[in-house]
Amino acid sequence: MNIHTHMKRTFSYTILLVAIGFLLAGPLFGAGSRDTTTSTGDGGPVTVEFWHSNSGLLGEAMTELVARFNATVGTEKAIVVQEIYQGKAADVATKLRAGLQANRAQDLPDLAQLDATGVMDVRDSSMMVPVQTLVESDPDFNLDELQPGTVLSMTYKGKLIGMPFNASTILLYYNKDAFKEAGLDPEKPPRTLAELADYAGKLVIYDSDGKTVVRYGFAGVPTTYELVSWIGQQHGVSYLTDKSNGHDGNPTKVVFDSEGTLATFLDEWRKVYASGGLGNLTSDVRQQFIAGKTAMFATSTSSLATVIDSVAGRFELGAGYFPMVNSESTGGVNIGGGAIFVFENKNDPGKRASWEFLKYLMSAESQLFWHQKTGYFPVNLGTYGLPGFKDHIARNPLFKVAIDQLNDSSPQIQSVWWPNSYQAYFEIQNGILEMLEKGLGTEETVQKLSSVLNRYMDEYNRMNKE
């Protein structure tokens, strides 16, 4: 064997050894780092695994909260919270469902942050531990400390299933400089859709050719998220489906057709489109607003801190109430955002450690910090009395708008818990877009949407008998 073959052989053996090294050392079979800390009082800290969907500024705030807990209560009570960013809320739900289906409790986290679209995935699972149970077993914790609307938003058949940690409403964001340029009062954002149509028409700017839009008045295509408020607020309170939008049981059909609420909305929305200032944009709308390509847009209050940060003096930012469909739509807006759910995963017996962390997140101070860093409004009523809060609001009046809007809204308005929420979202968006761009009739559009959404509910109920 000459030197070359010898060298080649040594090389291949080395690769082989390295490979075997990985094979043995790496987590070949088991899950990553949640080591067996299923402590039963053996002295080691209990690890609480928490899946969430907060990134960017929100992610930083969450990391800070977790660090604070670990350094204080965590050290005291031997609890270590491990936070894992899992992508968007829909991604967290998808991963959870995987573990729930395969019936593998050990693949589940202790806590997971979900929004309305993920609720149906976990609601009926035996592995989900309703927060109500934990509340009842802890005499020190009182649900009355929390904003009633938020508690109601996460109640199913009378029981609180998830802890409403990050509560938000939808908000109208607008460019005050653009208002001034167009001769509009920057302190008076549009209050109804009719006014929105009027303002949008005045704010839109065309290119020199008179056809291409350089800046829209308002940009966005309504989907489930907006409709929950725009339909919910009509006649004081309304619903999209029966069973109170799915909070009293699996919804079986839509009611926005028979109650005429969708039709009312669509007629008003068409006027906004007719003004010429509506941009049917669905992606990156926030970026477009920041870049000055649209003068108004509507999104969650949870984006407030991010928008303020990104606008950074480019123009003066304004925030206003979400426009009402018409003068009869007095219900206000829906409380959205997300909640944290608890799971039985053979870790943390009685979920005591998880409950400690939850309580910490819901404390007045934590909620203040979270509010300041994000724009979600404080769920703990105690926060509103803290001097730090009053101070913050005085210096950042925009944050107050969301809170005022919340207090002016009916807590009866609910998010909708229906199956196929992802598809439903797009059906609604497409349906409205088609109506506008192809000039279809209101009745026709309502028919189309109700038939496809009813079909989703039928299919689901057929396959998953309650």
């Binding site: 829909a90 739900a93 998808t94 469902r97 995987a98 729930l100 289906q101 019936n103 995935d121 291409t212 049917n280 944009l281 669905t282 992606s283 990156d284 970026q287 477009q288 870049a291 390509k293 199956p419 196929n420 992802y422 598809q423 797009f426 059906e427 968006q429 497409n430 877009l433 299919e459 057929r462 396959m463 998953n464």
Partner: protein, 284 residues
């Protein structure tokens, strides 16, 4: 007798894998597509072709089907023409051609998700460079008419390394004497291309077409990273919808039915590809 057992042992790993990850899932998927499956993945009842009937009547599915073919319709000609042009420019052995060839095959060094993120940024209507450099203002990710093209361009970019090399190889294997004979008889470049080169490299072209057709049926990665099926589902493809129905919505019957459709389509196209592989790739 020990000796007669061991040959089968050599095959065991391959067979186990083939069963576990190909055949078994295939049959289960077919079974699921013919039944009602609940949220947890258990079959509830057998319903025959009902899932397929409702699938084909569903506008959402029709959109996926149309989009998948729309992608192929744009992707394959653009890919072919672009790679042919590049191949024709550099297939002869001249100075600088080695450099140019390297430039053309660089995309092969880049993985799909990295490329998709870069393309997402450069086609961004607000801050991206494409609109700026070409002086246009296309809303790439908000306009249903154009969003598909971002996927097509990414697809061409990812595919061109291989397709370009195949075409270069094919062009180089056209016998010199035939080409020279044509030149002597006064044939111009165009005639030379269409009458001599094109027919002789046609097996390779057909191979590329059929392979890429099959790949088009399976398109999902770029959609997931760049557009999430939007805007307004204009980039939603078959496999992407299958992923949404199956994973995000938990609709296993529907997801499996879509899988079966994808199987049938790719099966037909694989057969096509096989027929041309033999002729296309092995040269003397």
């Amino acid at each position: 007798m020990k000796k007669s057992l061991s040959p089968y042992l050599y095959f065991v790993p391959a067979l186990v894998l083939a069963y576990l990850f190909s055949y078994r899932p295939f049959f289960k998927t077919v079974a699921n597509s013919l039944s009602l499956v609940n949220f947890s993945g258990k079959i509830i009842e057998f319903v025959g072709l009902e899932n397929f009937q409702s699938l084909f009547a569903d506008r959402n599915f029709q959109t996926s089907l149309v989009n998948t073919f729309r992608f192929a319709l744009f992707f394959i000609p653009i890919d072919l023409v672009f790679c042919l042009v590049c191949a024709l420019l550099v297939y002869r052995k001249r100075r600088f051609n080695a450099l140019n060839e390297t430039l053309f095959i660089m995309p092969m060094a880049v993985a799909m998700s990295s490329a998709a993120l870069v393309f997402k940024a450069i086609f961004n209507p607000t801050i991206g460079v494409v609109n700026h450099l070409f002086g246009i203002s296309v809303q790439w990710f908000n306009d249903p008419a154009w969003a598909m093209f971002t996927i097509v361009f990414l697809g061409v970019w990812m595919a061109m390394g291989l397709d370009f090399l195949l075409l270069v190889g094919a062009l180089r294997s056209v016998p010199r004497h035939i080409v020279e004979a044509a030149e002597i008889e006064g044939a111009g470049t165009i005639a030379k291309f269409f009458r001599i080169q094109l027919p002789l490299i046609s097996p390779t072209i057909l191979f590329i077409v059929s392979t890429r057709l099959r790949d088009s049926m399976l398109l999902s990665g770029p959609v997931m990273v760049m557009t999430s099926g939007g805007p307004y589902r204009s980039t939603q493809t078959l496999v992407y919808q299958m992923y949404i129905e199956g994973f995000t919505a938990g609709n296993y019957s529907k997801g499996s039915a879509i899988s079966v459709v994808v199987f049938v389509l790719t099966f037909l196209l694989i057969l096509l590809a096989f027929r041309f592989e033999r002729k296309g790739v092995f040269y003397q």
